[in-house]
Structures are given as structure tokens and as C-alpha cells.
């Protein structure tokens, strides 16, 4: 890894560096990392803010949707003055303000998505065509976190090569859990932030290779009940997306 921490970095990330599980070495890994955020809506907004703050060196934001008033009740990476911009461009301004050292690129071309995966270490997917994304992630040997939120209910699943992918999960199970890309449905910002921060946490754990990631674990959150549930996901040898591919 060809990155070094500047004196400013050491001050800014001192609360990370002091943690034995991260340290200076881990912070360099975060700085060297590249994350693609597919979706800057409800959950994606929170994920993006926290990944930029954590010091991820390169962030690519994809979201062609125009920022509208309704977004502002559920997604915290945007401001009113950005109405009419793409959500990718709007969030980019906020992320750069939080962390000017991050290289943040906004992509708003609707069909750019699976093609953007190449060259990124982790994909945080909250919008877009998830099956196409998962396929591209498998082909690129990247890692991913899929996270969805509706109302105050959310779900997430992490993937890295060799673990169960989104295609291994039966569609009815995925639907029942609410693990689906975000549309224009409403979400409670607080619950969306729980889900988005969970995705950011998992992305950092995958970058740092620490802790027990949500790979093979379908995670669910019910904000109104304040309960969390988890079900195991097994790898399917006949999976149309990852079947036959070994890590």
C-alpha cells in the first residue's frame, strides 16, 4: 500500500489510530480504499457521510435521480440549496466539505452503474439494479454491502468473494426481509440512518478485515419495535451469479 498518513491525518483520525484493531496501519488501509456508493437516497446518504468522515480515500457516488423536496425528509447528505441537482452531485458537495482530502466523484448517468464497479474495493448498494451489480462485483472480485430501507424497516447483507451472494438468496426470502433497492418510497430518516450506518460499518470491516462481517447473515431491523433479527444465508452451488466461482 503506497499511502502515508500526514500529520493532519494523524490528528484527524486519532480516535481510530488509538484503537488496536485499526491503528495507523488500518487507517492507511481506509485511506487507500475505494468505495462505490450506488444510491444516495435514505440509507445511502448516511453511509456516504460516515465513510467520508472515516477517511475513505476514494468515493464514487452514483445516483441519477434529481434531488427533490421529499428526499430531504429521509436523506441527510443533502441540503435544500441542492434541489434539482442529481443526488450524486448534491451528496458530493457535502462529502467534500466533511473531508476535503477524499477524492469524490459523482456519476449521474443512469446506465453507468455496473461498469463503475471495476476498480473499487467495496460497493455499498442501496439503489440501482442489484443483480447486475452483484454480477459485476463477483467478476471484479470486489466486496459489497446491500442495504435497503422502507418506512422504518431495513435489511442488509454483506458479500466478499467466496461467501453467499445476493443471487444465493431466494427472491421471496429477500422480498420478505425487505432487502430491496430503494425506490421513491418514503423512509424515516432515523431508521434509514441505522441501516446506512450499518452498511458503512460493514464496508469498513471488509476494508480492514476485522470483526465478524454480515457475510452469509441476512440482517433485519424494525425501527418501530427497536428489534434486530438475523437469518443465515447459505451458498448455492447453482447460483446464477456466483455459482462455481471460488474465492
Amino acid at each position: 500500500m503506497n499511502v502515508t498518513l500526514t500529520e493532519q491525518d494523524i490528528l484527524r483520525y486519532s480516535r481510530h489510530i488509538i484503537l488496536p484493531e485499526i491503528g495507523g496501519r488500518g487507517q492507511k488501509r481506509i485511506k487507500a480504499a475505494s468505495v462505490l456508493l450506488a444510491g444516495l437516497g435514505a440509507a445511502g446518504s448516511a453511509a456516504a457521510l460516515y465513510l467520508a468522515a472515516a477517511g475513505v480515500g476514494r468515493l464514487t457516488l452514483w445516483d441519477p435521480a434529481r434531488l427533490i423536496e421529499d428526499d430531504l425528509v429521509r436523506s441527510i447528505a443533502h441540503t435544500r440549496s441542492h434541489l434539482g441537482l442529481s443526488r450524486a452531485a448534491s451528496a458530493r458537495e457535502k462529502l467534500v466539505a466533511i473531508n476535503p482530502d477524499a477524492v469524490v466523484t459523482a456519476s449521474e448517468a443512469p446506465d453507468a452503474l455496473p461498469g463503475l464497479v471495476e476498480g473499487h474495493q467495496v460497493v455499498v448498494a442501496t439503489c440501482g439494479d442489484w443483480m447486475a451489480l452483484q454480477r459485476a462485483v463477483v467478476n471484479a472480485g470486489a466486496a459489497a454491502v446491500f442495504a435497503g430501507v422502507r418506512g422504518a424497516y431495513g435489511a442488509a447483507l454483506a458479500y466478499r468473494p467466496g461467501t453467499p451472494c445476493l443471487g444465493c438468496l431466494p427472491p421471496e426470502e429477500r422480498g420478505e426481509a425487505g432487502l430491496m433497492p430503494e425506490g421513491r418510497e418514503d423512509a424515516v430518516a432515523a431508521a434509514a440512518d441505522v441501516v446506512g450506518v450499518t452498511a458503512a460499518t460493514e464496508a469498513l470491516k471488509l476494508i480492514l478485515d476485522i470483526g465478524n462481517p454480515l457475510t452469509g447473515r441476512l440482517w433485519r431491523y424494525d425501527g418501530w419495535a427497536a428489534t434486530f433479527r438475523e437469518t443465515r444465508v447459505a451458498r448455492r452451488p447453482d447460483c446464477p451469479l456466483c455459482g462455481g466461482k471460488d474465492a
Binding site: S14, L19, A46, A190
Partner: protein
């Protein structure tokens, strides 16, 4: 702005509600964004600190240009940019036994995002004495806790933690470190609790303490009960006014 997740009546309740955030740091950042986005009408911010470069790894209310500014001013700017109609009230003072009761009585709900034991006990006692519901959150390295205390309904902080830890036995965030995403998770859960207290919808964490591990991505729940012998909320309370909390915590609550 309407949010289809809430009924018009619930939105009205949110618009009329007032919430006080004790601390505009890591927990306060995520709480404040979520409450403003949900349309909470009046948000009080109590914090006397200025933004430090080492805050920015987790305190997403503050931008790099804000380093050196009072946190409450930086916070107000971001919240108004998201939700211009919100009434943001700034209290750039240290919370003390002298000012806490009067301050808390101005708000419907108090959210404790403080970072030291002296303030936690002060917030708790003031909430009990003022009859205000309190959402409590705390963070440490990769772990966090969150619960809701409503006077007369379930335990208070003292029922669970009757005595503070010995001075110096628990290191601060500066000494022990904290992963930046952690206050985002705990603060967002706290905000959700506030929304439930205000709207009356869902099940709050009264009597339930959530214990979170970011490394395991696991949340466990512990049932917590009111202590009839609690000196502040028990059957025969012995504390009737706020005390000296620095002394109570051994002078090293920070």
C-alpha cells in the same frame, strides 16, 4: 414537507414537539440530522465545546471549515440547510446543577449524548425531577448502549447504574478511541426512540437496554427494571434536588 411514514396527526405532533440534545458531538450529530429531517419543530442544542479536527472522523454535523467554531453554531447551520423551518435554540453553556432543571423544563424530551459520567447522572436526575423522558446513549471503542427512561414508567439510569465507576477506571474516547461509525448507529437509534416518544407509535426501549457490538454487528437486549430503593426514582427517594455530580463521580467523571 410531508413524509408518508407518518400520519398527518403524527406529523403535527412532531412539528409541535421540542427536543433537547445534551451534546453536539458524535451522538448529537446523528440525532440532530434525523430529528430535523423528521420535522421535529424545536430542537435545543446544549454544548459548550468548539469543533476540533479529531471530532470530524465521527461528528458529521461539522465540516472541515468549522474547526474552531462553537459546535452549536456549526450544528445550527447544517440543520437549517436540511430543514429551514426548524427552530434551533442554542445553549452554548456547560450543563450544571444550577441550570439543568430550568433548561429541561423547556423541552418535551431530553437526549443524552454526553461523554462523561458526571453529566449522565446530572441528566438523569434532572429528567426525573423535571418529569422529562430521556433517551440515553453511550459509546466506547466498538460498543454502544441505548435505552429510554420515562419517569414513572420503568427504570432510570441510577436504577441500572447505582454508582459511578471509580474515577479513572473508564477511559474517555480520547484515551480509548472510538470507531467513527459507532455514534452514527447509536445516535440514530436514539433519534428513533425520540420519534416514538413524540408520536406515541411503536414500542420504545423503556425497560429494555440494547447492547451493540459493531465488530460483531450484533445487538443484544437486556431487560432492566426500576429499583424500588433507587435514591431518585424509588419508593422513598432521598435525592430531592440536584447534587454536585463532579464530586459524586469522584472529581474525575470526565
Amino acid at each position: 414537507m410531508m413524509n408518508a411514514c407518518f400520519t398527518p396527526e403524527e406529523q403535527e405532533r412532531l412539528a409541535r414537539a421540542s427536543v433537547l440534545l445534551v451534546g453536539c458531538g458524535g451522538l448529537g450529530s446523528s440525532v440532530a440530522y434525523a430529528l430535523a429531517a423528521a420535522g421535529v419543530g424545536r430542537i435545543g442544542l446544549c454544548d459548550m465545546d468548539r469543533v476540533d479536527l479529531s471530532n470530524l472522523q465521527r461528528q458529521v454535523l461539522h465540516h472541515t471549515v468549522d474547526v474552531g467554531r462553537p459546535k452549536v453554531e456549526s450544528a445550527r447551520e447544517k440543520l437549517l440547510a436540511l430543514r429551514p423551518g426548524t427552530r434551533i435554540e442554542l445553549h452554548p453553556v456547560a450543563l450544571t446543577s444550577e441550570n439543568a432543571l430550568e433548561l429541561f423544563r423547556q423541552y418535551d424530551v431530553v437526549l443524552d449524548g454526553s461523554d462523561n459520567f458526571a453529566t449522565r447522572y446530572l441528566v438523569n436526575d434532572a429528567c426525573v425531577l423535571a418529569g422529562r423522558p430521556q433517551v440515553h446513549g453511550s459509546i466506547f471503542r466498538f460498543d454502544g448502549q441505548v435505552t429510554t427512561f420515562v419517569p414513572g414508567h420503568g427504570p432510570c439510569y441510577r436504577c441500572i447504574y447505582p454508582t459511578p465507576p471509580p474515577p479513572g477506571s473508564v477511559p474517555s474516547c480520547a484515551e480509548a478511541g472510538v470507531i467513527g461509525v459507532l455514534p452514527g448507529f447509536i445516535g440514530s437509534l436514539m433519534a428513533m426512540e425520540a420519534l416514538k416518544l413524540i408520536t406515541g407509535r411503536g414500542d420504545t426501549l423503556i425497560g429494555r437496554l440494547l447492547i451493540y457490538s459493531a465488530l460483531d454487528m450484533d445487538v443484544s437486549e437486556v431487560q432492566v427494571r426500576r429499583n424500588p430503593d433507587c435514591p431518585i426514582c424509588g419508593d422513598h427517594p432521598t435525592i430531592h434536588e440536584l447534587i454536585d455530580y463532579e464530586q459524586f463521580c469522584g472529581g474525575a467523571g470526565r
